[in-house]
């Protein structure tokens, strides 16, 4: 199964998105991370690295980010991971909420990391106002 890490400037936002996505795949490992160590809004590479490591035994880990420094700090976190884990981690270019929901569904179906990533990125094109 593919695990998911939700990375936001706000821990509350990350946790809320995790909650919404978790409903679509109860058994999918999802970790939320956000904010600075002293409780401000922001993102920190060490906290993100730990969050990725916390996902546990999975075939791959999909990373979803909100904006700005979340991208750079996540890239730094990935560079700090051990090689073996680093190879199974991918940062995806998806909208964070819709991407997380789609990723949870796809992961629960047992799809590969690459399939889950592509589906999550496809969420950017999904029509909301049908």
């Amino acid at each position: 199964m593919v695990g998911i890490v939700i990375i936001s400037h706000s821990l509350k936002a990350a946790e809320g998105i995790k909650e919404i996505a978790q409903q679509m795949g109860r058994e999918v490992p999802i970790v939320a991370v956000g904010g600075t160590t002293d409780g401000d809004l922001g993102t920190e590479p060490l906290a993100i690295k730990e969050a990725i490591e916390r996902v546990g035994e999975v075939d791959g880990v999909l990373l979803l980010v909100d904006l700005g420094s979340a991208v750079m700090n996540t890239q730094m976190a990935v560079e700090m991971l051990e090689d073996e884990l680093q190879r199974r981690v991918v940062l995806c270019n998806a909208p964070i909420l819709e991407g997380a929901v789609v990723a949870a569904v796809e992961s629960a179906m047992g799809h590969t990391l690459d399939q889950v990533r592509r589906a999550a990125e496809g969420a950017a094109q999904m029509e909301k106002l049908l």
Binding site: G42, E44, P45
Partner: protein, 210 residues
């Protein structure tokens, strides 16, 4: 003129002091075109750097700068963290094992630091970021060094160029970072990151001049 370890340590303390003094100023600039946290972020990062300084203050200059980079990466919490963090990690790479720095060492450190920031943030000059202050500074330093100027004169040229580059961000439309979301509304405001870049370089210069 060479720069020794004690001067490097003094530079780091001076950078932290200058950022602390300008915390509100940087935050005000960031409130106009960003999320209003640049001063808070930088101050948090440099306080962490100071905290981590004593155990490495007697090591080679490369180790000292690497430690600055790691402190900023771990504690800034915004875009400036990975960017300045990379800048000082690059300083550390060039200065690895060195007990003193020559003009050409410092020129190489500045160039490598700028390159690291550009690779990490993908910004080029004219996008209203710290690169607008740093790139002219690095070029001015190199030009002065090529002309055979002393270290102090090279650094003075770099700071003057950073100041001009910082002011030149005012009429620009932001293309990177938070200010990018404002589009044309970012015109007329000085970029906070370009401002902190000038402050950091000026803090280092102050130590050279003393």
């Amino acid at each position: 003129m060479k720069v020794d370890r004690d001067q490097v340590v003094a530079m780091i303390k001076e950078m932290a002091a200058v950022v602390a003094q300008n915390k509100e100023y940087l935050t005000d600039l960031d409130s106009a075109i960003g999320d209003g946290d640049h001063g808070i972020n930088m101050d948090r990062g440099l306080r962490k750097v100071l905290e981590k300084l004593p155990p490495v203050a007697d090591k080679d200059i490369g180790t000292i700068f690497k430690n600055v980079g790691m402190g900023l990466i771990s504690a800034v919490g915004g875009a400036a963290g990975p960017l300045y963090g990379t800048f000082f990690l690059q300083f550390g790479k060039i200065a690895a094992g060195k007990e003193e720095l020559t003009t050409s060492d410092i020129g190489a450190m500045l160039a490598a630091g700028l390159e690291g920031i550009k690779q990490r943030g993908k910004a080029v000059v004219g996008e209203k970021t710290m690169v607008d202050a740093l790139e002219p500074a690095v070029e001015a330093f190199a030009a002065a060094a090529d002309a055979g100027k002393e270290l102090l004169a090279c650094f003075q040229a770099a700071v003057a160029a950073a100041e001009a580059g910082k002011k030149a961000t005012i009429p620009l439309v932001a293309k990177k970072g938070r200010a990018h979301y404002l589009g044309e509304r970012s015109i007329g405001h000085q970029d906070p990151g370009a401002t902190s870049s000038e402050l950091l370089l000026r803090a280092m210069l102050k130590v050279l001049e003393s």
